[in-house]
């Protein structure tokens, strides 16, 4: 009796109340750690996206200057024969743009210092811009046309506010005189930032204002096509074999363990495989999207096999038995029922695999996709880069313009991934069947 009272007291007394409070506090603390962990992940995610967007949004805008350019035949076509493409190719188009700029700004063309300062407002890419105009339509030779010409990287940075006007003149990349010119141009609305289509069209370039993702987008497209054409049939066939046919023996076990392990092999090792087998042994060209596609195919294969197997397993046995019961062969059962019913799952898995492949960089570095490619590749065997590789290359460049372009390219990549993932989620919700 006495013992019982004592133990009751130990459950209701002051000491017990204190202990209980402590235990409840520990409970609250524990809960808080959980919330903190999730908030940490969320905060990091928001921080990451915010920093990339704040760095990268300006890459989608580019400053141009509108100038009345006189296509002086004496400069670009002295022979008078507009068919002479060699001459047009070698002509000094920069001079046309500069003369138009001097006239517009009222710069004394005899003053060398002023001339140089004015020249610095224009991009080095203007000669290609004007040359392409003339080659497209030689009849404009001799006429004056209003053309939007690309501004230089520094002028662009000033317009976007990333160069501070209050910095002392001698420490600023763009001088007082040039700022005054820019202000006049802006006032006459002859200079403004416009949507940067060049970012999506241009190839590699050493000056940021004319560098673009064109070649990278085409290269990534070729690689994705290769992955779809190879990884999907191979992956689906392998999954079908493992789910439907594979006997429970050593060979099936080995294949099974293999696929699981392959999914966890570091991606860079796949790059080494690609270099040793596809390039050195089979003699395929370096930097080719085909080789990149092959390497990415091997990498995404496990993902596709694993998701397809899950989709096949979800087909209810009743359907299988019904089909077999009316006399279908195993192959007919697969072709007529299993595959069509698991198609949404296979599609979702394929998209997830593609998302993985599209963002993968490391194996592509191994097979020489880090290349300075100016011209569009027309076949998957010609040199190209890929979207993530382009980001890597720009990230290693120092110019201010490349910093924003790197982040801009990252936004493009993330946009692709978000669209593809949303598609996968949509497909899953739209076609998912509960049996």
């Amino acid at each position: 009796m006495i013992e019982q009272t004592a133990s009751l007291a130990s459950l209701t007394g002051d000491a017990a109340q204190k202990r209980l409070r402590r235990r409840h506090a520990a409970e609250r603390r524990f809960r808080f750690y959980g919330i903190a962990a999730i908030l940490f992940a969320l905060g990091f995610l928001v921080f990451l996206f915010a920093s990339i967007v704040s760095q990268g949004w300006s890459a989608f805008l580019q400053t141009s200057i509108q100038l009345p350019v006189y296509f002086n035949p004496a400069v670009i076509n002295p022979s008078g024969n507009p068919k002479d493409e060699d001459e047009l190719f070698g002509a000094n188009f920069v001079k046309l743009a500069r003369e138009a700029l001097y006239k517009d700004l009222g710069v004394d063309a005899k003053n060398r210092k002023d001339r140089r300062a004015a020249n610095q407002l224009l991009s080095r890419g203007v000669d290609v811009q004007l040359r392409d105009m003339v080659l497209r339509d030689p009849s404009i030779i001799g006429k004056t046309e209003n053309v939007w010409l690309l501004a230089n990287d520094n002028a662009d940075a000033l317009m976007k506010g990333s160069i501070d006007r209050n910095t002392p003149n001698d420490r600023r990349l763009i001088k007082d005189e040039q700022i005054a010119w820019i202000d006049t141009l802006v006032e006459a609305s002859n200079m403004k930032t416009r949507f940067n289509t060049g970012l999506f069209i241009n190839g590699a370039s050493s000056s940021p204002e004319t560098a673009g993702l064109g070649v990278a987008l085409i290269g990534s497209f070729f690689m994705m096509i290769t992955v779809v054409l190879l990884a999907v049939p191979l992956g689906v066939c392998a999954a079908l074999y493992l789910e439907e046919y594979a006997p429970k023996n050593r060979i099936a076990d080995i294949i099974e363990v293999n696929i699981n392990n392959l999914a966890a092999v570091p991606s860079i090792v796949f790059g080494l495989l690609g270099l040793a087998v596809f390039i050195n042994f089979l003699g395929l060209p370096r930097s080719a999207p085909l080789v990149g596609g092959l390497v990415l195919t091997l990498m995404t294969l496990p993902t596709i096999i694993i998701t397809t197997r899950a989709a096949i397993r979800a087909v209810p046995p009743s359907i299988r038995e019904a089909a077999l019961g009316v006399g279908a062969s195993k192959m007919q059962l697969i072709g007529h029922h299993v595959l069509p019913l698991s198609l949404p799952g296979i599609l979702t898995g394929t998209i997830i695999g593609l998302v993985q492949a599209l963002g993968e960089t490391a194996p592509l570095l191994m097979i020489g996709m880090v290349a300075f490619v100016v011209d569009y590749p027309t076949t998957p065997l010609q040199p190209a880069t890929g979207l993530p590789v382009q980001i890597y290359m720009w990230a290693s460049s120092a110019e201010r313009g490349f910093v924003e372009r790197t982040a801009g390219a990252t936004m493009v990549l993330l946009a692709f991934l978000i669209v593809m993932n949303s598609l996968a989620v949509y497909l899953r919700n739209r076609f998912e069947r509960k049996w």
Partner: protein, 490 residues
């Protein structure tokens, strides 16, 4: 004719054979389709398979074997001096021969004559070089006559090979077609045959994964053995200095010590795990034990997005935002933190692997039987006490497996460390200094214009093999633990 063209033709022939076979089956049964063993389409597939499949197999094997065989033939033309030289020299010479041979078929008859004369010594070889460079074959120096002879052999071997390949393929296709066509008969069990072939195809597809593994092991192992001919394994595995000077071809100058790289890899991975394990584990516990459906609906996608972000994006973030931020932070509190410190790469990598830890741990915690929880509550334990004293100990083996899987991810991760970790190999225990990793060095040894057969590039394969073995061991062990754990509660 390229292999792809031949393949396309064979496929077209196969399609034609399908229609012929189908028509033939209706013909042989005299229009009474019910007397056929299989439906007519199966006879079409049967004939198509017999026609195209053997020919495509021949094509595939031939295309793979062509290069080594023709190179061997060409190599026999080279002087003994080159053949007895080092491997590196030989492959360099073969590279020149290869590019000349690629140019030869493009030459006109006159130009070819000049090259032939150059070989025989009637004109100087620089003329031959000029002609070749006109066709896009740029040579570093004037080719020696023996090289031209070898290239001629190579070019002719290639030409002949293509010619015979074409003939063989079409003979095989024709033979298959003729045999199959004659065998079409109402009693031929064509569906069974076709299905057996299809099943074989499915099996072949499932072996691709195994072949990939074998390919990885063989290719990396082969180049690693090659590397160990230049550098002794002792120096590689136990060397403490990493300094592969870029020397001339074939010389093992510099030191190739693995230890600093291994240390750097482990150090960064350890920092990453220190971030990922607590955060991932607490997130998993909270989501599976506390969170209502609303919080779950928010938290799960957040973690999935973290897992879906490409590593290059994390790397860029570490390079351009997180590293400088950490450096400034350190500057303000009086610490000298390098922008590419262990902390930068480690923390960002840690965030990257949070989802690996949390999603697997989530599964594992959910697999702990409900009865254990209820028994604990029944004894008066609070929820957190139940988790700490009952659930986590019960789930421990599985969680260890999840952590090991995450560790193997961290060790093999490339882009974050390439962009945000250091370049110099550094044996340091200070997390504020930069270190470098195995993956960084694989990338830096293989990007750039280097001769392939130097230890400086081959070491990348030795590093790759090291990485492969470490991650494979971790994975196999982790998967084993997780599987054992699952079986325990089934």
């Amino acid at each position: 004719m390229s292999s792809l063209t031949i393949l396309a033709i064979l496929l077209l022939v196969g399609i034609a054979a399908f229609f012929i076979g189908r028509t033939r089956s209706i013909q042989v049964c005299g229009g009474k389709q019910q007397t056929l063993h299989s439906r007519p389409a199966y006879y079409g597939y049967y004939l198509a398979i017999l026609t195209a499949l053997p020919a495509i197999l021949v094509l595939a094997i031939w295309s793979v074997a062509e290069r080594p065989v023709s190179n061997y033939l060409a190599m026999r033309e080279l002087p003994v001096k080159v053949l007895e030289g080092s491997n590196a020299q030989r492959s360099l010479t073969m590279g020149v021969v290869d590019s000349i041979a690629t140019g030869l078929p493009k030459l006109s008859a006159d130009e070819y004559e000049v090259v032939r004369k150059a070989r025989l010594g009637f004109v100087t070889t620089s003329d031959a070089r000029d002609i070749l460079s006109k066709h896009g074959v740029v040579l570093g120096s004037d080719p020696e006559p023996t090289l031209i002879a070898s290239a001629q052999k190579l070019a002719s071997a290639r030409g002949q090979s293509r010619f015979f390949l074409l003939i063989t393929c079409f003979l095989v296709a024709a033979a298959g077609f003729a045999w199959g066509y004659r065998r079409i008969h109402p009693r031929l069990r064509s569906r069974n045959i076709v299905e057996r072939v299809m099943r074989g195809g499915l099996f072949a597809a499932s072996t691709v994964a195994v072949l990939t593994t074998v390919g990885i092991v063989l290719s990396v192992l082969f180049e690693t053995i090659h590397f160990f001919q230049f550098v002794s394994p002792m120096d590689y595995f136990f060397g403490t200095v990493w300094d592969p000077r870029f020397a001339t071809v074939g010389k093992a100058e510099g030191q190739f010590g693995l230890l600093p790289l291994l240390w750097g890899t482990m150090f960064i991975s350890a920092v990453a795990l220190m971030v990922a394990v607590p955060v991932g584990l607490f997130a998993a516990v909270y989501m599976s034990e506390y969170a209502g459906s609303k919080v779950r609906a928010l938290a799960k996608p957040v973690l999935e997005i973290l897992a879906g972000i490409p590593t290059i994006v994390y790397g860029l973030f570490a390079l351009s935002v997180f590293g400088p931020m950490l450096r400034d932070l350190g500057f303000n509190v009086g610490l000298d933190i390098s922008a590419s410190s262990v902390l930068t790469a480690g923390i960002v990598m840690g965030v990257m692997i949070i989802p690996f830890v949390s999603s697997l741990s989530d599964d594992i915690i959910n697999a702990v039987p409900q009865s254990l929880r209820e028994a604990s509550y029944g004894l008066g334990a609070t929820q957190s006490e139940t988790i700490k004293r009952v659930i986590l100990p019960a789930a421990l083996p599985g969680i260890v497996g999840a952590v090991l899987l995450a560790a193997s991810r961290a060790i093999g991760e490339t882009m974050i460390v390439v962009l945000a970790a250091g370049i110099a190999a550094n044996l340091t225990v200070n997390p504020l200094e930069p270190v470098t990793t195995i993956t960084v060095k694989i990338v830096s040894q293989l990007t750039g214009d280097l001769e392939f057969n130097s230890p400086q590039t081959l070491v990348a394969f030795a590093l790759g093999l090291t990485l492969f073995v470490i991650t494979l061991a971790l994975n196999v062990y982790a998967l084993y633990i997780v599987r054992r754990y699952r079986e325990q509660y089934e």
